[in-house]
């Protein structure tokens, strides 16, 4: 059964690695639903968060292929309920629509969104949440014609009390040294 999985990849910061990882999906004609890359808590180590909808079997195989890339430190996969995750969305609406009634303001309050910037012509609203939530706000706001809309890729954390990356690096180092003896 296909379902959403979050794949997390820790890697060295090497040019070209993004391509090496994405071609693992494209080669199998698997669509990447969302992709976020940025530096992790440890300098020089980057974290990829990739969302795909696939069967568990296929996900395991692809994670195996990612893990195998020389510059990848470690790759994991989780189902949505195993992680805490968010996306961020920005909406641009006409400033007039706030003057005409308090509907927009109510929508923003109810959704737990906030207003980032107001100009004479437009207002930028920001909301973080799951896709269905940011999408719901979009549908609501669109009564007033959303001029522009953007949603980010997903960021996600596991429910582990600590990030295990630094321990992992230490263990890896000890392991590799022991192998060389």
């Amino acid at each position: 059964m296909k379902q959403e999985y979050i794949i997390t990849v820790y890697s060295e910061n090497h040019i070209g690695l993004l391509s090496r990882i994405t071609i693992i999906f494209t080669r199998r004609k698997v669509n990447i639903e969302s992709l976020t890359v940025s530096e992790s808590a440890i300098k020089g180590i980057f974290k990829f968060t990739i969302v795909i909808a696939e069967t568990r079997d296929q996900v395991m195989k692809m994670v195996g292929q990612i893990d195998k890339q020389i510059d990848v430190l470690k790759a994991f996969y989780h189902t949505n309920d195993e992680m805490i995750y968010q996306e961020i969305a920005l909406y641009k609406v006409r400033t007039e629509s706030l003057y005409d009634s308090d509907t927009v303001e109510k929508m923003v309050r109810k959704a737990g969104a906030r207003i980032l910037e107001i100009t004479r012509e437009f207002v930028i609203i920001e909301k973080t949440g799951h896709k269905d939530e940011t999408q719901a706000l979009f549908e609501e706001l669109n009564q007033f014609k959303v001029m522009q809309f953007i949603r980010s890729g997903r960021v996600a954390l596991t429910r582990d009390p600590i990030e295990r990356l630094s321990e992992f690096l230490k263990e890896r180092d000890i392991f590799l040294d022991s192998q060389n003896k």
Partner: protein, 565 residues
């Protein structure tokens, strides 16, 4: 090591010397001139083989790597030189061949400008290299080369590519070299987990009909002896994959032959009877498994493999033993009980007899007038006392080579397995001959594939490589024609070849040759070729429409293996 200032180009050559490289297969061009200039100063330390086409050099490096176990080293210039390597790199990737390719690149200030002879080689080769890196500064060279060699040859080997911009070749650096011994993001092999070994031992000890499948992982891991000890202690029959050939002597009593689409009858048929399958260093290629959903359903699968991504990729393993096959086999042998499986092995013998009567006899002792590939290949093997190296091209003859050539020594069979690259054979045989200068090397190709890299006759002559080149000429793209005959109602759509006079071409290159089309002339012609001091081309006209059997039709189950049409 002195800290002298040298140009990047010289650092490339010195790094190769540090890595113990003594031969480079290459072809120069504008973006490689500085490196070639430095090579000129070290030609007493490193040999360079100039081929006639970059595809030739990359396959030669591949052949060299297969017979020696050392990484093959390639040089090619930017743009067309580099793109001509692509087929050979893909070939090496699929067959896990250690290879380090150096490509020249336009100056770093010109990257991305569509400069003359710029091509994005890193981008093009990303899916077909184990690792690649673009060097734009001279001081990166020693570390990049050290990493490249470490990655190419450790763990599951594979091709790596270093793309070096011209300015990085020209600019100076402080020379200092350190070998790479670890990369924190890369675990070449995992230590063998003893609990999995114990689980496997229990299954093996209880097995009634166990079958071992040996792949190239045995050869890569130098585990030939460990394999022999394991099967001899347990009495388990072993079948080899195309790339596992020669890991065990052909005549070993427990060797039951080849798996796969054109493998032997017994190991294919009986895969589906086995109760335990021990797969060692093989990856369940679709040419081996046939239809996966009906493959080895009665068997518990024990998979010994160095690459974790191969576990459960095609066939689910009941027990996976990750790590180096040499260590895994040792640990198994220490723990398994001594055993024998005579009744089970008799079943293989029975199959052998059936295959002999229906297929082999006709292939190697034909009664019809036309010459068969089988009798020629077997004769070559016998006349060299099964001591020679066989390098194959791709097609019907490749399967016949694998079926009828016999081996006494490991690393003696060179064949393009995963990619099935026509044109591989002749250039790969050059690398094989250079890697094993004292052994007889046969290059056995079809008339089609031979013409894909025929220009390498020039390289063979220039380097006086005493390769015994056999062209099995059926005037057809035989393997495709066979499928057209069997599955497309003999509609021979564009598979017929009008061939040149191969011997005249050989002579044009200064290579002796002879053409044979009658059985009574074959023995003497073959002997003359083998006795000839130097390269020799023997063209044999063979039966046009012979087919290779047994055959597992595409998509069928291994137990549907056909002995005749």
């Amino acid at each position: 090591m002195t800290n002298k200032r040298i140009p990047g180009s010289e650092a490339v050559i010195l790094s190769l010397i540090e890595e113990g490289v003594d031969i480079i297969f290459g072809y120069p061009g504008g973006a490689m001139i500085p490196i070639y200039d430095s090579l000129y100063d070290y030609s007493d330390k490193i040999k360079h083989i100039l081929t006639r086409h970059e595809q030739g050099l990359v396959h030669a490096a591949d052949g060299y790597a297969r017979v020696t176990g050392k990484p093959g080293v390639c040089f090619a210039t930017s743009g067309p030189g580099a793109t001509n390597l692509v087929t050979g790199i893909a070939n090496a990737m699929l067959d896990s061949i250690p290879m380090v390719c150096f490509t020249g690149q336009v100056g770093s200030s010109l990257l991305g400008t569509d400069a003359f002879q710029e091509s994005d080689l890193i981008g093009i080769t990303m899916p077909i290299t184990k690792w690649s890196y673009q060097v734009t500064k001279p001081e990166e060279i020693p570390e990049a080369v050290a990493k490249a060699f470490y990655i190419a040859k450790t763990g599951r080997p594979g091709p790596v590519l270093l793309d070096i911009t011209k300015d990085a070749q020209i600019a100076m650096l402080d020379w200092k070299y350190e070998k790479c011994t670890k990369i924190r993001s890369y675990v070449p092999e995992l230590p063998v987990d003893i609990t999995h070994v114990k689980e496997a031992v229990q299954i093996i000890d209880e097995a009634k009909k166990p079958l071992l499948l040996l792949g190239q992982g045995v050869i890569i891991g130098s585990a030939e002896n460990e394999l022999k000890e394991f099967i001899e202690k347990t009495g388990i029959p072993a079948a080899w994959t195309l790339l596992g050939l020669s890991a065990l002597p052909t005549e070993h009593p427990l060797n039951v032959g080849m798996l796969g689409m054109h493998g032997n009858y017994g190991p294919n048929l009986l895969t589906n009877e086995a109760d335990v399958i021990i797969a060692v260093g093989m990856r369940f290629d679709d040419r081996v498994t046939g239809k996966v959903s009906t493959y080895a359903k009665k068997a518990k699968i024990i998979h010994l493999e160095i690459d974790p991504a191969e576990i459960n990729k095609i066939v689910k393993a009941d027990v996976a033993i990750l790590g180096n096959s040499k260590k895994s086999l040792q640990l198994l042998t220490e723990r398994v009980k001594e055993n024998s499986h005579d009744a089970w092995i008799k079943e293989f013998k029975k199959c052998d007899d059936i295959e002999f009567e229906k297929v082999i006899e006709k292939d190697i002792h034909p009664t019809k007038p036309g010459l068969t590939m089988g009798e020629i290949v077997r004769m070559a093997s016998e006349k060299t006392n099964h001591e020679a190296i066989l390098v194959s091209d791709v097609g019907q003859h490749q399967m016949i080579n694998a079926r009828y050539f016999k081996f006494k020594h490991s690393r003696s069979h060179v064949s393009s397995g995963g990619l099935g690259t026509m044109g591989f054979g002749l250039p790969a045989s050059m690398g094989a001959q250079m890697g094993q200068p004292d052994r007889t090397v046969f290059s056995v190709s079809g008339d089609g594939g031979f013409q894909m890299t025929i220009q390498e006759l020039g390289t063979i002559e220039q380097n006086k490589l005493p390769i015994k080149i056999i062209i099995l000429n059926n005037n057809f793209l035989g393997m495709v024609r066979q499928w057209q005959q069997l599955f497309f109602e003999k509609r021979y759509s564009f598979t017929k070849l009008h061939n040149p006079d191969f011997i005249m071409i050989a002579k044009g290159y200064g290579i002796e040759g002879n053409k044979v089309s009658k059985r009574e002339d074959l023995d003497a012609a073959m002997q003359k070729m083998i006795d000839h001091d130097g390269p020799y081309v023997l063209e044999v006209t063979i039966e046009k429409e012979d087919n290779v059997f047994p055959m597992i039709p595409a998509g069928a189950s291994v137990s549907d293996v056909m002995l005749e049409a």
